[in-house]
Amino acid sequence: MSTVYMAAGDIPTPHIEYGRLAPVLIVLGAACVGVLVEALAPRAQRYGLQVLVSVVGLVAAFAWTIALGIGDQPHHVAAMGAVGVDGPTLFIQGTILVLALMSMLLIAERTNGDSPFTAQASTVPGSPEERESLVAGLVQTEIYPLVLFAVGGMLIFPAANDLLTMFVALEVMSLPLYLLCGLARRRRLLSQEAAVKYFLLGAFSSAFFLYGTALLYGFAGSVRLSDIAAAISKQGGTEPLLLAGVALLSVGLLFKMGAAPFQAWKPDVYQGAPTALTALMASCTLVAAVGGVLRVFYVGLETLRWDWRPMMWAVAILTMLVGAIVAITQTDVKRMLAYSSIAHGGFLLTGVIATNKAGLSSTLFYLAAYGFTTVGAFAVITMVRDAGGEAGHLSRWAGLGKRQPLVAGTFAFFLLAFAGIPLTSGFTGKFAVFQAAMAGGAMPLVIVGVVSSAIAAFFYVRVIVLMFFSEPLADGPSVAFSPTTAAAVAVGAFVTLVLGVIPGPALHLAQSAANQLFVR
């Protein structure tokens, strides 16, 4: 039968390069194993098995990614051109996998047997059932396969070479996250509200993305990025179909990054979600989203850059300023870091807009540097606890430096890295993207970037002042120590320091990853 179809040429058998796709397949496979564990393993063993499966899956995928990065050159597209396996993608995927592994340390954290996630998501907050499930010591171990599915989506998203694959990846990545956002153990109503908001707005943005894809298909007759680029060169970029498509596609992508004016979801979601998951979203999701933005704008729309640059300039400037300015009046640590993450999205956009090799490599470096610092910072937040869970309000952090100098000192170090102080990775990253932007002629962007860095430094330093120069509260928060969290903090601090003091090797890696640009 198949020979008949082949002869007719209707549906060719797709040729899949399993080797090149292995990292994604391993993670998704591990997620499936996780589902089976959930179905078959006895309740008592699920936690251990799930953590094992997740960690093994992530480590194996990371190892394979490295092998691909070393051995598989020059890079090619895979799966009939649907996925590009190239230097930047492998760098991004590797970064996502390591950051996911670090976040996994937070997700799997258990202090006195308490998980940061709810015991049973289906119970109504405050109900007797909830109490029963807590007393019974239930654990919602489905979070592990969900996280793995999300990570799998994140791995495909920056690799997707056509818009439909990218959309599927977007949904694979987002849907588990919507769910996971609502699974906090404490302050469950806030968490569930965050989940619903994220879901509604995410669905809204997906519609934009899809609509943009449809319009671009109408323009180019293909959803393949390389075909769209070819169509733009051939027809010139005058078609309203094209411009509207680019605009709507950008909205979908910028929403995932949390760029202004599509940033509204970020503070609410970051605050409400379990902090371990916030760490995952603030690092891995951001890396994946920026990876997707890079691919779309470098591969599909590169020839149209004179048209989208003014718009992206405006978005970048607005993003940096909104993030930095609004963060000043925040009183919740997680919300403050959410706005900080918005501002950092703006800094990343300055690197994206450069559309040259330096822009690409500096953005890649920035992503890695920022990711490690972010996971570390959120890890510290999970450690500082009041009776009712994490001490979110900034006033509770007063004088922490006097009672817990190590924890407060590490957090201060992360904040300095966010502010971009030399000898931290934040400085190197900012320096690299600003340099690339300047070389690309985006001087005003750099000026705004530096100004908003200065504004941002205020609220970072304010927290440091609060921690070290205020009298400790009598009933101040305590520090809950767990080895996994401490490991995440240590790795974050170490990488932040190393990338700040000897950034050479990492910069070189990013440069060689960006050297071949994206494959088409």
Binding site: L201, L243, V251, A264, P310, I325
Partner: protein
Amino acid sequence: MTTMNAVLAAGGPELHPQAAEGVQSVAWLLIALPLAGAAILLLSGRRTDKWGHLLGTAMSLGAFVVGVLAFFQMLGQHADGRSRLVHLFPFISAGSLKVDMNLLVDPLSISFVLLITGVGSLIHIYSIGYMSHDPDRRRFFAYLNLFVAAMLLLVLADNYVGLYIGWEGVGLASYLLIGFWQHKPSAATAAKKAFIVNRVGDFGLSVAIMVMFATFGSLSYQDVFGQASQASQGTITAIGLLLLLGACGKSAQLPLQSWLLDAMEGPTPVSALIHAATMVTAGVYLIVRSHAIYELSPDARLLVTIVGVATLLAGAIIGCAKDDIKKALAGSTMSQIGYMVLAAGLGRPGYVFAIAHLIAHGFFKAGMFLGAGSVMHAMNDDVNMRKFGGLRKVMPITFATFGLGYLAIIGFPGLSGWWTKDGIIDAAFEKGGTSGQILGWLALIGAGITAYYMSRLMFMTFFGEPRWDEDVHPHESPKVMTVPLILLAIGSVAGGAFLILGDRFAKFLAPVVGEPEASHRLITPYTAIVFALMVVGVGLAYVQYLRRPVPRTAPAGNPAVTFARKDLYGDALNESLLMRPGQWLTRLTVFFDNRGVDGVVNGLAAFIGGTSGRVRRVQTGFVRSYALSMFVGAALVVGALFLVRI
């Protein structure tokens, strides 16, 4: 080879040192040993209190041994090949600025190495006894080691950057040691003063280095001196004057002399090592090392001699009026360094005498300072000479060693000072012309004053009737203190003759500073005049301080005495010329900062804070308004893209 021969034929220095071998190739140990000592003692804390001083002394002695071995290896080498480079590591590579950290072992640097490690080790040993009751003795030895390491880097570096690091290092060590007894506000103030005054000089040195880099594109001695003749006269003079400013700060020469007298607040071994024998002579080293620059600029050289003569007189006059034994010696130090600077400014015949006098001075002045420390030890740390007197009977060793140092410094024929100081005076007259006559006669007069104030010090301390406080019971110091005194006294007696007889030192230094035109004459017409003035000075002091009883409280003097007691109004001058205007400037800038800058900054901060507060309200928490904002944003993005088209 021809160029090298040409250079040698011209009597100039050899500019192409070869790579070091043997012991010299590990010359870095000279710096590394004391540096390691300092690091261990500072980092290990109280655990090393018991044996810290021994470790510090051992490190200094170890450096001395390496120095002696390197010295003997050098003696075995041919005179043309005595400049050796030790390649360590590339230090700075930024744009066109490339600095390699290399050590230059040559006759000039090895002379300093032997002085620093030799005298330094003796003072380490002496300090074991002197500081035995101090709870912070370990810290003291750590700083001493730090000083030795920095000073060795200063003299061994083959480039101005290395020299500058050492220069700042000794400044730091000096600061730490002057203020060693932090509990005394006077010590803390003196340390600060020394540091600040030195900043002025360091500023000159750093600008000189920048000018050199701008002119020659390199900072190694080899490149700078090799290309010096190609630079313009103005540039060379500017470099020379800036280097002189640096030298004035470190060597307490006019007009940056004011810190040295206050620096006597530090423990006495520090005064002996840093503020008499070694660090304060760094300025002389700088000038002699940079002689290739000075030889091209007569103007700069003239100013060097003027500074030297002015300081030698000023120091001598101050020394006449001080009742504090250490301050009198400090004035004398200023004065003697003035002689060295004068000699360094005189050019080729002077370099040898500058360094020879420096070494001789290192011995006799260190010996006298340590002797003064021994006296203070006996007198319950009193420094007022009016309460001394008659100590020669109770402290025979201290008296004998101090006496030999005294004879050396006043230029008693045959002792160290006579050989080297007469050489300087002779060289000044040799310069010829009116300037030579003036410099020579002023230096002669200085020698007379030296004899007077040193005799005064000697008579007030060791001779006459005891004027001790009632609870004071003087005694000789322990062996650990007297043995270094004896060794230094030997140097005071024999050092000068050893160096000068047969032009030994001149020949040794010739590869670096060039061969003097003529061999040194031992007896000149001025020898007799110097001797006569010395006798007059001693006689005057004898009449005033030995024949008549010395009052226990200082009598009110005439204006001239007051002038000298107040350090020639140096502090008053600094205060009215620099400190007050500086304070006004500070007040003005503070005013401007409060009213102008702060106003703008606070206004801006308030504006941003207000904006933040207003923008924040948009974040209502309602998902419907978020969706609306997204929709508006999307419309704007679409609009923006179409707008670009138009």
